[in-house]
């Protein structure tokens, strides 16, 4: 599928996934890859930026004798996500109108 994820849609997707539960890198990548096909190269910078913006924080937990980094959404991230979702709903409404018009 050739999807152009624009203007932080990937960020929104990451936050939406993290809202359900805290996740580690690989798991998050799997979750997101089940929806869109992205390279890990794209995921890491997104996580880093979200962290710098204070939308998510990280903590480490032991797993099989090594530390695994988990990502958790912050309150700020939640309210940001809410705003973005509202925008997307609005956008979706417009898209539906366009598709209806096509028929």
């Amino acid at each position: 599928m050739d999807i152009q994820l624009k203007k932080g849609l990937l960020e929104t997707l990451v936050l939406a996934k993290l809202q359900k539960e805290d996740m580690y890198g690989y798991k998050l990548s799997e979750e997101i890859n089940s929806i869109v096909d992205i390279a890990e190269t794209a995921l890491y910078p997104v996580l880093r930026r979200l962290k710098i913006q204070g939308f998510l924080k990280t903590y480490s937990e032991e797993h099989n004798g090594r530390l695994r980094k988990y990502y958790r959404i912050t309150d700020k991230g939640r309210s940001h996500l809410e705003d973005r979702v509202q925008e997307l709903i609005e956008l979706n409404r417009i898209i539906e109108k366009i598709i209806e018009g096509e028929k």
Binding site: I3, Q4, L5, K6, K7, G8, L10, E11, Y24, G25, Y26, K27, S29, V36, D37, I38, A39, E40, T41, A42, Y44, P45, V46, L47, R48, R49, I52, Q53, N64, R66, R68, K69, H80, R84
Partner: protein, 401 residues
């Protein structure tokens, strides 16, 4: 982890060598963890590597992102330059677009710097001005302090705003360059969330700075008004008559004087004939100048000097004044030598050119003899006696009628 995957991680590490250690560690641990988790899930080496992509494309992305972050966090000419140079190779079209906006941003930084230098210039002018004002005119001194305030505010706000615009342009430049990195399957367009956040944060401090400058400007302005400096400069600059002048008159008997020596800053000088028996000297003294008339034996000296009310008088007096020193001589007089010097004032000699030899030094095309423009900066004319008039003016006209 297998040797091949270890090599994969190592090659990322090596390419990031000069990077801050925290940045490297964070990135490396992300990929290490990813690989370990993937192995646990039972993915093969090949699958993992194909999902991660080439090490050098990972490195490119990390480097570029870190550069963009740098500019976002601390925009400024140095960071922009460093980050711009360190951006990985880009498509030509992106690079050309990028370098144009990069150069514009840099020019704006330079402009802001010049404006900041203007603050120093304004303060220097005010200090020099205060030194030249006599302590009697305290309002003038306060006015000069006001000038320092206002000019600081104007140059400060200009520099500050230009700098901010340059900052925005720097961040935009880096975001634009990010588009050119062709390593990601999904091209991430400019990050609106980040810029919205940072601009809204900055605009708070921007308002604060603007308010401070505005208060400074208004304070300065209020301090300047009562000093009257602005009006005075304006009127001198435009050769407007001062609001009030003190008229001083003196007369001397026609035969007691041999020489007259007149020096003015920017008042006009008029030498003419009168029908009386006395030499008469009239001076209209504006409130920023002092005229000092002295008689020493057979010589009259008149000297116009600044009285300390206005600073930079030597500079200002290059402008023609509209106040006058008038010397009128009777028909028969013993005056054989008249010397006139002015910085900026016009000098007029009426009805004396047949009797007196006249020698003039003024600016090119500034001398008029009998309604004719002299195309030189010097004029000499022999009279029918050995009496002489010597004229020299810095910036005014010399008119001989």
């Amino acid at each position: 982890m297998t040797e091949r995957l270890k090599g994969f991680i190592q090659s990322i590490k090596d390419s990031l060598k000069e990077w801050p250690e925290n940045d490297i560690n964070e990135a490396i641990s992300f990929y290490e963890e990813f690989i370990e988790d993937a192995l646990e899930e039972g993915l093969s080496e090949d699958e993992i590597i194909s999902r991660l992509g080439m090490p050098d494309s990972i490195v490119k992305t990390i480097k570029a992102e870190s550069r963009i972050e740098n500019v976002e966090k601390r925009p400024g000419p140095l960071n922009l330059l460093k980050s711009f140079i360190a951006m990985p190779a880009l498509k030509t079209s992106i690079f050309i677009g990028g370098i144009v906006s990069f150069l514009i941003a840099f020019m704006l930084y330079a402009l802001a710097f010049v404006s900041y230098m203007g603050i120093a210039g304004g303060i220097l002018i005010a200090i020099t001005g205060i030194k030249q004002i006599s302590p009697d005119y305290s309002l003038g001194i306060i006015g000069m302090v006001g000038l320092a305030f206002s000019s600081t505010a104007i140059f400060g706000i200009t520099g500050y705003l230009i700098w901010k615009i340059a900052n925005i342009l720097s961040v935009r430049t880096m975001h634009f360059l990010r588009r050119g990195i062709k390593t990601q399957k999904i091209s991430l367009k400019k990050d609106t969330t980040a810029s919205v956040k940072s601009t809204s944060l900055k605009s708070k401090s921007r308002k604060k700075v603007i308010t401070i400058f505005l208060i400074l400007f208004i304070t300065g302005f209020i301090l300047i008004i009562p000093s009257g400096l602005a009006q005075r400069y304006f009127s001198i600059w435009n050769s407007m008559r001062p609001v009030s002048v003190t008229v001083k008159k003196s007369s001397f008997s026609a035969n007691e004087i041999k020489a007259i020596d007149i020096t003015t800053m920017n008042s006009m000088v008029v030498i003419e004939r009168n029908i009386g028996n006395d030499i008469q000297i009239t001076y209209e003294e504006p409130d920023w100048l002092s005229g000092n008339l002295e008689k020493r034996g057979e010589i009259i000296t008149f000297k116009e000097t600044p009285n300390g009310r206005l600073p930079f008088m030597n500079f200002i007096s290059r402008h023609e004044g509209i106040t006058t020193v008038k010397v009128s001589l009777p028909e028969n007089t013993s005056v054989t030598k008249i010397e006139i010097k002015s910085n900026g004032g016009n000098i007029t000699v009426k009805g004396l050119e047949t009797e007196y030899s006249i020698s003039v030094k003024a600016g090119n095309r500034k001398i008029r003899y009998k309604d004719m423009l002299v195309e030189k900066d010097r004029f000499e004319r022999k009279g029918n006696s050995n009496r002489v008039i010597d004229i020299e003016t810095g910036n005014g006209f010399v008119i001989i009628e």
